[in-house]
Amino acid sequence: MHNFTPISALIGGIIIGLSVVFYFYTTGRLAGISGIFENAITKSSNRLSNVYFLLGLVIGPLIYYNIILPSEDIAFTITHSYGLIISGGLLVGLGTRLSKGCTSGHGICGIGRLSLNSMLATVIFVAAGMLTVTILQQYGIHL
């Protein structure tokens, strides 16, 4: 576990959780990102608010890297295989809306609400992700 960073992970996680609390307390809505994304591109209810939330998701990292810790480099390593990117994007979009939640909607809000459906969904998507990565590693695609 040479890349294990429990402290920053925990601090970041608590900040994410407090954002979900703040959003729920003020707007009465749960911050599931795949749902916010779907509403932003499809429905008219709260559509602009959803776009603003997504805009915030982009501005947050920009503030962090330019104002809070400008000395820190952005760590970002991603595959540049179009096949993986396009199929991954399609599956993430379709799968999260079919099961009505992603890492935030099921993994954070759902488990926090003690929803059994969300607990099951989280176990399944983590297991499916682990299986996928393990298989890709056999073919030398992920390190």
């Binding site: 608010s49 935030s104 983590v126």
Partner: protein, 136 residues
């Protein structure tokens, strides 16, 4: 303080939490999914921290009738565990493993100005629309 401003601020805080946690980096997420090889358990701490921060407030607030902005409290309706939940979560998991991006970090990753992120987001939007327009 209106709904749009609050949504923007919530998104900014969420995005800052994501970068601090390291989860905006697909390599880090794949390190967590790499259970058999150099496993990086950090994501457990991200999710655990977020759940611990959220859960107590949720149970304090969930029975209120309106939110601080005067909106109706919107909670997901109780649903049966069904095929859609299982199949959807499985498909999502496979896609997550292929690239190392889930919806939140994928949007925050626009901050790195890599065009590949835009291709991922367009594909993700098409996936969402397939569900909204065809499967629903």
């Amino acid at each position: 303080m209106n709904d749009k401003f609050i949504s923007l601020v919530s998104g900014i805080i969420f995005g800052i939490g994501l970068v601090i946690s390291g989860m905006t980096n697909p390599e880090k997420v794949i390190g967590f999914l790499s259970i058999t090889h150099n496993w990086d358990a950090s994501l457990v701490f991200v999710m655990g921290g977020a759940i611990l921060a959220f859960a107590p407030f949720f149970f304090l607030l969930k029975n209120k009738e309106v939110s601080a902005l005067g909106n109706r409290i919107e909670l997901p309706t109780k649903q049966q565990m069904d095929k859609k939940l299982v199949i959807g979560a499985s498909l999502f998991g496979v896609g997550w493993g292929l690239v190392g991006l889930c919806p939140g970090p994928a949007i925050s990753a626009l901050a790195v100005f890599d065009p590949i992120v835009i291709i991922f987001l367009i594909s993700m939007a098409i996936g969402v629309l397939i569900n909204t327009n065809i499967l629903k």
